[in-house]
Symmetry: C2
Subunit: 232 residues, 2 copies
């Protein structure tokens, strides 16, 4: 048994971290949340909000907690995406990082830097600064995944406010998929799917004809077998 312990010792000396790719959406398009690092290594860089996992905490719980600690964000939609494990991705030792993506409604959540995060800000996905570690690779992976998922899962509703216009719904699809759709065909498809419903309410404070506001009907979507998404 002493022998076993000695053998094990060589394996139990790595660390594991979580890195979150938090997507948000506004009139400008798709955004990613970055923090300004106030801690070693890479102090003074913008980076994905992430941290080392304490060995006594479950993985899922750690992911949520780390995001909350650095940005104040709580109870957001999160999903594990991929683990990155190059030998020298971290200067302090062997650190595997488990990437998550999170989708939030920017209207409802107001990120605030905390703990060793000195600042937190939204960046357009097309205007990301230089990132430390392999965070650029992680971010690109997350973007690809979001793009693939959006066609087959109703994820967009995690990014839109509760009430939204069909124009906004179309714009978010077009932004993420980097592809344009015909207005009439898009509306026909969405409405015939049955997963969104009219609210009777109209858009306010706009300088043109106000649009009808719709909302996502999650239970109907589920009932209709829509774990699947909208387009295709």
């Amino acid at each position: 048994m002493k022998n076993l312990k000695k053998i094990l010792k060589q394996y139990f000396n790595v660390a594991v971290s979580v890195d979150n790719v938090v997507f948000g959406f506004d009139a400008d398009g798709l955004k990613v949340l970055l923090i300004f690092r106030g801690s070693e290594p890479f102090t003074g860089s913008w980076a994905l909000p992430g941290d080392l996992i304490s060995p006594e905490m479950d993985l899922e719980y750690s992911a949520e907690k780390i995001l909350k600690q650095l940005t104040g964000l709580d109870q957001v939609y999160m999903e594990q995406i991929q683990t990155f494990g190059s030998v020298d991705r971290h200067p302090f030792g062997r650190v595997f990082t488990i990437a998550y993506f999170a989708l939030i409604k920017v209207e409802n959540y107001h990120p605030q830097a905390a703990s060793w995060a000195k600042d937190v800000a939204w960046f357009k996905v097309t205007e990301i600064p230089k990132l430390p570690f392999d965070h650029r690779e992680i971010l690109e992976y997350a973007r690809r995944l979001l793009k693939n998922r959006i066609r087959t899962q109703p994820l967009v509703f995690e990014l839109l406010p509760k009430y939204f216009t069909l124009t906004a719904l179309q714009f978010i699809h077009e932004s993420i998929l980097e592809e344009e759709f015909d207005v009439r065909n898009f509306r026909k498809k969405i409405l015939s799917s049955g997963i969104i419903e009219e609210t009777g309410k109209l858009q306010k404070n706009v300088t043109h004809r106000p649009a009808m506001l719709y909302r996502y009907n999650a239970s109907k979507a589920k009932q209709l077998g829509f774990e699947g998404g909208i387009l295709q």
Copy 2:
């Protein structure tokens, strides 16, 4: 700096492992490869082929190497699927495990137990014995993933021999998707997709009308934009 080292120490005492879900396919249907453990913990159990990662090895490389070491399988199609990190999933300490799935052509590869694997065998996915750790959960996750992927990626060709009949191609889809298709419609769809081609060869040593053999045309599939799969 000494302070930093002390802080880091509490994080650098976990281990990371790889667990492989190796799928194969034969006349009986979908199979999974398990090893008979000859090493602690859970000596004497059938389990997914997996092992701890040496801290000085890259993740991808480790996944391949561990599979090869335990089963002799080399150069197989592998893909990372998910990381599992419950606090007490491993009796020897905190071990995160990174699950991979692998798809192999059973005709071409002949697994052979090696290292501390005392045996290796194929099990029908419907007849899996009790598994240690959270291997059952990992296996079910992998099955769900395979089922989802098979509709949109040409993964079946990793499981079929180089030359295959349309009947076999249909059977593998039906086995994985747990759903039946109309023979005529299935053939129409597959053939019109253009990603498989006739070989002119016929099946041999069968006791009935021999079927035409087809093969996957990877370059044409790619050219046609088929990272996507066949059905839907």
